[in-house]
Symmetry: C2
Subunit: 353 residues, 2 copies
């Protein structure tokens, strides 16, 4: 076509076609590269005529700014890191979607780092932030690692904006987006108590987990509000996985004195637990009521369908992304956002009988 710039004529053979640069656009629009840049970033500072010519040239060439160059120059990557403990946990998927759609609309990309339960993988976080590959991060794992404790061998890094989602990070002065776990757990406990259950077991999350601590407090709150005593023997350890629910169920089956209701702090555990109970010939909810937490997709189609606490997962993701973007763009943000949960009553819980 035209021969500006592309001096070499070996274009046919070179597999690497060079993308349109700002120079090409500038030449075509007969302005300087600075004007092209301004027409994009601050259109109001460019004359309407010049702007029109630039826009036309961009449309004609399909010009897209090179993000690496832009990054290098502006020290921004337009990338956000999302750190989560377990990608294969269904609880996170809808949250991720909420995050992703919000980020995308704002022009940000999402990089996912799955910690996979192995602390070694925290290197991910460190590597990405240290190298300045992301502008900010959303933390779903309740930790604040990679803190770059400013010492020998530590890259003296710019602290990037962070947002904690779901799992509050105690002591960290960063925005928190979450639900009121304690209140929700209390509510479920009281719901069970209100149906006449006096022996209510509690299947916990990992002890170190902040969610667990909140929900456990809520469980005790609920017992107290209902005038029921707290019995440590009815606290069964779990870790939110299906397998731990299965294990908890096995322990329950083996007992002499069984609870009449079990409050599992995740739906996966509740489903695993119900499975074990049913396999052992116990009926749910006739013999034992089972409640969950989260309201994942499978809760509604479990057999029996699961009474649980609904979390607005998509909205949680959206809120976290919105706050982070505000932070990145220097807008004021709220330090804490709490979204509402809902008690969803289905078939796995019945009056104590």
């Amino acid at each position: 076509m035209d021969d500006l710039g592309q001096s070499d004529s070996a274009e046919r053979e070179d597999p690497r076609i060079r993308a349109t640069r700002i120079q090409d656009v500038a030449k075509l629009a007969d302005v300087s590269t600075a004007t092209v840049s301004r027409a994009l970033a601050t259109p109001e500072r460019v004359s309407p005529e010049a702007r029109a010519r630039v826009l036309e040239a961009i449309a004609k060439t399909g010009y897209v700014p090179n993000p690496a160059a832009r990054s290098l120059r502006s020290q921004k990557t337009f990338m956000v890191l999302v750190v989560l403990p377990d990608l294969s946990n269904t609880f996170f998927s809808k949250i991720l979607r909420g995050i992703e759609e919000t980020l995308f609309d704002a022009g940000y990309g999402m990089i996912i780092s799955d910690l996979d339960g192995s602390p070694a993988k925290e290197a991910h976080f460190a590597a990405f932030t240290a190298a300045g590959r992301v502008d900010g991060a959303i933390l779903l794992n309740g930790h604040l690692f990679g803190q770059s404790r400013e010492g020998e061998g530590q890259p003296a890094r710019i602290a990037i904006p962070l947002v904690a989602l779901c799992e509050a990070i105690p002591g960290a002065d960063i925005p928190q987006i979450e639900i009121d776990n304690r209140a929700a757990a209390s509510r479920m406990t009281q719901h069970l108590a209100s149906l006449g259950h006096r022996r209510i077991a509690y299947v916990s999350g990992p002890a170190s987990n902040i969610l667990e601590r909140e929900r456990f407090l809520g469980f005790k709150d609920g017992l107290e509000a209902a005038g029921l005593p707290f019995d440590p023997a009815f606290v069964i350890p779990g870790d939110y996985t299906i397998e731990s629910g299965v294990a908890a169920g096995q322990g329950l089956v083996a007992r002499k004195t069984r609870p009449t209701a079990v409050f599992c702090t995740s739906d996966e555990m509740a489903i695993g637990l119900m499975r074990t109970l049913l396999s052992a010939g116990l009926r749910v909810p006739e013999d034992i009521s089972v409640a969950g937490f989260d309201d994942i997709e499978f809760a509604a189609v479990a057999e029996p369908s699961l009474t649980t606490i609904h979390q607005p997962r998509r909205e949680l993701g959206q809120a976290a992304a919105t706050v982070l973007i505000d932070l990145l763009q220097g807008r004021p943000t709220r330090k804490q956002i709490r979204l509402e949960t809902e008690l969803v009553i289905r078939d796995s819980v019945a009056p104590a009988g």
Copy 2:
């Protein structure tokens, strides 16, 4: 501490601390920046002494190369885009983990693009590849959009390496990593037939989907191998979601002549369908056997537990990432990789009675 480079002393007040650059390392190690660069990229071409000094300087300063600068210069981003139709589908989570761990080990980051069923979101793909934000992509959605049909208004883009995972892309000359859907579906069908089932219903995926087409062929293969006639009335439309399984179940319940077995081409559909059947008072597997496909986590704890086809999801992800990395680094790759599936026999299927 020491004052090389950092001439300004306003460090206390400036919130943006500049990260260590290659120059700082070079100065400290008393070599040129080129040597530092080489010590990292091609250590064998640097004298052991120089290398040692460089490494020491890096350790001392915590130097991490600036990826934007590296990208700009080398035209590589060390980022891979993963395009998938639905992030909240549990089927993908373990695949993603397989991809992520493999990419990370090779120094690549993973950007996720969730199409969310909306074709408009294909802009994602276009935007990322057009801007050169990624070196390659793994496609889990069976499409090859963003083809940049080289016309007016289209950025004349470098075609980046692509790999198709799970859903083969017909006509595209890119590596395919998948299972043998047809053979697996045939095997399940024959398994059902071998238990005496003569009226076997089939709950399909979306008609346009390549997986669906393969599995449907496999279903017919299986019927034929078992000497059973194919009856279009026993093909029930679905789209792999729980909801479509529920809907399929409702249709089934309403029928006069019911099948004795139902083969659902996804576990979610099978679980949704079982739920509906059970709610309607039918027993699984006594009245109707139900089989799934995928072997997601919940298959084992469904009630009854689900007979299904196991897919090596993590391995699929790993294989795709490995192939893409090979491609990116110019190594020869296999054009097609097929991983083995397994028939998992559980409680949702029983002999025809």
